[in-house]
């Protein structure tokens, strides 16, 4: 779709204005954007050509945009207007992309529901009584509802891949270092990735092509060459070895999800892949969520100490500098954020660092070591992205100590621990709502990931799946 749009030069203005108008209309129903951006000015100065020439796109609101409000979904940044563009914005603009929306997100990207944005929850385009998932929920919904063919998200735990599952689209978290994070408001630096949503694998290839590459302003960005993902796209599964994530499969309780997944695996075998089951040590799997929780919150507490209401952001009055900071942070952060900072700070206490934070970093290594064992033999690790379709907005039924929660709902953090490329692709529908399958491949092997993703897309026929918002 992106390729065809970029070629259709004659309809650029009409297309971008239509996308903008659609976003305006859907905003009433879905609340998926924080800021809608009238494209008129950008359309006056579009560069010639480019992979995204005249293609309307959306950005998660933690992506810095020069002169455009960038809130990261938090009240404390609800007046913040960056004076520079994030590297991904610079790259997309060079390729001719047109920004029409800054998308809703969980506050500071912490959360998996998109219920915690200071502008209210974003709603799922398939069923507005349901969540989009988070934290990149607004971006996912804008792609799923057909407003834009691509939206930028960020993924620290599964913040692209879970909403992609709940919204029935492709959600890509590439290898750590593949896309520059310069200008992205951070969450947890050792786990944060920039990625994106599309409605097809081909569009995912074009998007990564445009976004990947070394950036000296992000010291973690990679020097590796960027392959031509689209021309290398090959869905032939002959000799491909696929490992089913056994611990996840064992803990599934939804029969329809089990059936959809089992059938998909049979289809992959029919296409020539060798499919086996791989089990990780159960103790490590149960420790995945606390490992993530500690590392993410400890890093976040430290990263967000600069949000003080003095140099930028919402400024509350006070008689001293300390009082200004305390008042600004108390009123600026939602409860969930303050809770997470408390947990992070607790993990960083001198007496807890060895027992908690460093322990989590050691367990992270053990989990990644087992993933390496798996990927030594297999090209890909695969599992349903969730047990179920998107939860209802008022659903609080989860049991945070069950295998279902600890393993099935949180297994995708393995892609953040390792930094390996990981992607969700639509797998099937249940009660009119989609559910996705997740695949994780070797470091910098996005070519294989897209190839297997394309084979899945061919099997399911879910290419350009679009929700009709009622």
């Amino acid at each position: 779709m992106i390729k065809e749009m970029a070629k259709d030069v004659a309809n650029v203005k009409e297309r971008c204005q239509e996308a903008y108008q659609k976003a305006v209309v859907l905003q009433e129903k879905l609340n998926d954007a924080i800021t809608l951006v009238d494209p008129s000015e950008q359309l006056e100065s579009l560069p010639e050509g480019g992979l995204f020439h005249g293609v309307p796109i959306a950005l998660k609101d933690n992506v810095s945009t020069k002169g455009i409000l960038t809130t990261a979904g938090s009240r404390i940044l609800s007046n913040y207007v960056p004076v520079f563009d994030a590297e991904v914005v610079t790259k997309l603009k060079k390729e001719g992309a047109v920004i029409i929306a800054k998308a809703s997100m969980d506050e500071l990207a912490m959360g998996g529901t998109n219920l915690t944005c200071y502008t209210g929850p974003s709603l799922n385009p398939w069923d507005t009584k349901r969540m989009t998932g988070g934290s990149s929920g607004g971006s996912a919904a804008l792609v799923a509802s057909g407003v834009v063919p691509m939206a930028i998200g960020s993924d620290t735990g599964d913040s692209i891949r879970k909403p992609a599952s709940f919204c029935g689209i492709v959600g890509v978290k590439p290898t750590y270092g593949r896309i520059s994070r310069y200008g992205i408001i951070p969450y947890a630096s050792s786990l944060d990735h920039v990625g994106f949503f599309t409605r097809s694998i081909e569009d995912a290839c074009i998007s990564l092509q445009a976004l990947a590459g070394r950036d000296d302003r992000d010291m973690t960005s990679s020097y590796r060459e960027v392959p031509d993902y689209l021309s290398l796209l090959d869905s032939d599964l002959t000799d491909k070895k696929i490992a089913i994530f056994g611990n996840v499969q064992d803990a599934l309780t939804n029969e329809t999800t089990k059936d959809l997944f089992t059938n998909l695996m049979k289809q992959l075998e029919k296409k020539g892949a060798k499919v086996d089951v791989f089990h990780f040590s159960e103790d490590l799997m149960k420790a995945m969520l606390p490992t993530y929780y500690l590392i993410a919150n400890c890093e976040a507490t430290s990263n967000h100490s600069n949000l003080d209401g003095i140099r930028f952001g919402v400024h509350e009055k006070g008689d001293s500098m300390e009082e200004i900071m305390t008042n600004s942070r108390t009123k600026g952060f939602g409860l969930l954020i303050r809770k997470r900072f408390v947990i992070g700070s607790y993990g960083l206490f001198e007496e807890n660092q060895e027992k908690l934070f460093k322990k989590a970093q050691k367990v992270r290594r053990l989990i990644v070591d087992e993933l390496n064992e798996c990927l030594k033999e297999y090209d890909c690790l695969i599992a349903p992205a969730s047990n179920d379709i998107a939860p209802l907005l008022n659903d609080t039924s989860r049991d945070e100590l069950s295998d279902g929660y600890l393993i099935v709902e949180n297994h995708m953090v393995i892609g953040n621990f390792s930094g390996y490329p990981s992607m969700t692709v639509p797998m099937g529908m249940m009660d009119g709502c989609p559910i996705g399958v997740n695949l994780t491949c070797r470091a910098f092997d996005e070519v294989t990931m897209f190839g297997i993703g394309k084979a899945i897309e061919d099997i399911t026929g879910y290419k350009d799946l679009t929700a009709e918002v009622k």
Binding site: M219, T220, T291, L406
Partner: protein, 98 residues
Amino acid sequence: MSEEMNKEYFKKLAKQLMFELSDEESEDIVKEFETLNKQLALLEKVNTDGVEPMVYPFEDETTFLREDEVTHVISQEDALANVKDKIEGHFILPKVVK
């Protein structure tokens, strides 16, 4: 942690982080820590003897010493564009010495 993890404990901790917690919010965190501590016990069960902490996904060198050239400069006006109270290129804050 010798101190009891009660409401007062978390309020004190929040103060160190430069924000306040209401009674109700603090009570909420006390309850959340009950679940968190059970989850942390799952972490503790894993034997990590002799394992090095994993700080970043890759240990490849991606940093370098750049040439001493001025690049990506923003003006003073831009640097202070988001400051609420400013005068002649400075932030305005309440007096520190009173």
